[in-house]
Amino acid sequence: MNKKKTARALVLLLAAVLVAVEAVAIIVAWPKQAAEAAAGAETNDQKAAARLDAETAALRKRIGALAPKAAHIIIDSARNTLTLKTGKEVRLQAVVSCGSGSILEEPGGKRTWIFDTPRGEFQVKSKVVDPTWVKPDWAFIEEGKEIPKKREERLEAGVLGDYALGFGDGYFIHGTLYSRLLGRSVTHGCVRVGDKDLKAIFQAASIGTRIYIY
């Protein structure tokens, strides 16, 4: 009987300790206001407040000035869409294909490729009409072929469509033979666009046109 009582008392004591610890934890964890902001708050002084507002407005203006005013391209790699804009005006919206995210390992495990479309801000670095694809090593490895030694053996015409816009590191916005796959993530990192949209994008873009990919 005594043992039972002691056990019950111990359980109750343990529960009480746990509740107390939890209560302390909750009080300690209660959300706090940023001390730095509190220290900088001088909004009671009207002049200081006006000065602060003016400074904020100037900073906002400087941030706004960083956004592109000329034609630029925005690519949503998650939804496989491309938007061509000038300033805030949307000039064209197209369904595209971006990187598949797949991995290719060279037999023997020497090299690995991840077929993602890169993200961030880029610029159009080259514009090519009737581009010829210079097949990289991974294209041969994927096809189970030997990697050729001569450059000529790497050339393949007609697969990139009528136009290509290079944006660095071998990545291009180009056409496709597989228009039925537009809207799906199937490429090796390049951005494939349908023929009609590609022509409009090619005409609107010039060397230096900014490309934003997310």
Partner: protein
């Protein structure tokens, strides 16, 4: 209560309510919006000057925004945002790790054995639908963002009970352990309207991206 009422002859019946209010409204004692907006603009300008994408989490406005050069690329509205722990530092934070129960797996391409096999095409892509909608973003400075969609249906609601218990009991204890080790800790529970929004956030925020978490 009688003791509270009679200290220095004053009526202290409202004291517990006052204490609760003080704790519930961390901004008690003055409007800091202008100061915070100024600070946000300063910090955003630093990020917008770089060619990298960045994000801003607006805690009061309940918004997550992906930006580049000050331009909004995408934004997601949260249904609710709750917090525990310290205030987030008012400076650029780095997304150090994304953690989820079932992380999306990349498909491995097997080199074709012959030309016939090379001609066959299989679509094995990592797409938006493969992304998780419940995950935790670990930011620098001990900041954690727990992202989840609003629960719809029986099983998600049951799952949410577990999350609520974890959020209300486990996270404060974790905060306490961080506090005892003199480490910074802040956790935010972000509930998004749709499952697709969570998947899009997971896709859009790669590890290494910089961002701001602001109480605005």
């Amino acid at each position: 209560m009688p003791l509270l009422r009679t200290i220095w002859g004053c009526d202290f019946r409202a004291l517990p309510v006052f204490c609760v209010l003080c704790l519930s409204f961390p901004a008690w004692g003055g409007d800091q919006t202008a100061s915070l907006q100024n600070r946000l603009a300063k910090q955003e300008l630093l990020l917008a000057k770089t060619p990298s994408l960045y994000f801003i989490v607006y805690l009061k406005s309940k918004m997550i925004v992906l930006k580049s050069r000050g331009m909004i690329l995408q934004e997601w509205k949260a249904q609710s945002i709750r917090a525990w722990g310290d205030a987030p530092p008012l400076g650029a934070l780095t997304l150090e790790k994304k953690s989820t129960l079932f992380p999306p797996k990349r498909t491995k391409i097997m080199p074709a054995a012959d030309e016939e096999e090379a001609a066959t095409f299989e679509l094995d892509a990592l797409e938006l639908k493969d992304m998780p909608s419940r995950f935790t973003l670990f930011l620098s400075g001990g900041i954690r963002l727990h992202v989840r969609p609003k629960a719809r249906g029986l099983f998600p609601r049951l799952g949410n009970i577990g999350h609520l218990l974890g959020w209300n009991l486990w996270v404060p204890l974790k905060n306490l352990s961080f506090r005892l080790r003199k480490k910074h800790f802040a956790a935010f529970d972000i509930s998004l309207e749709k499952k697709e929004d969570g998947q899009a956030v997971y896709w859009a925020l790669p590890e290494g991206i910089k961002g701001l978490v602001f109480p605005l």
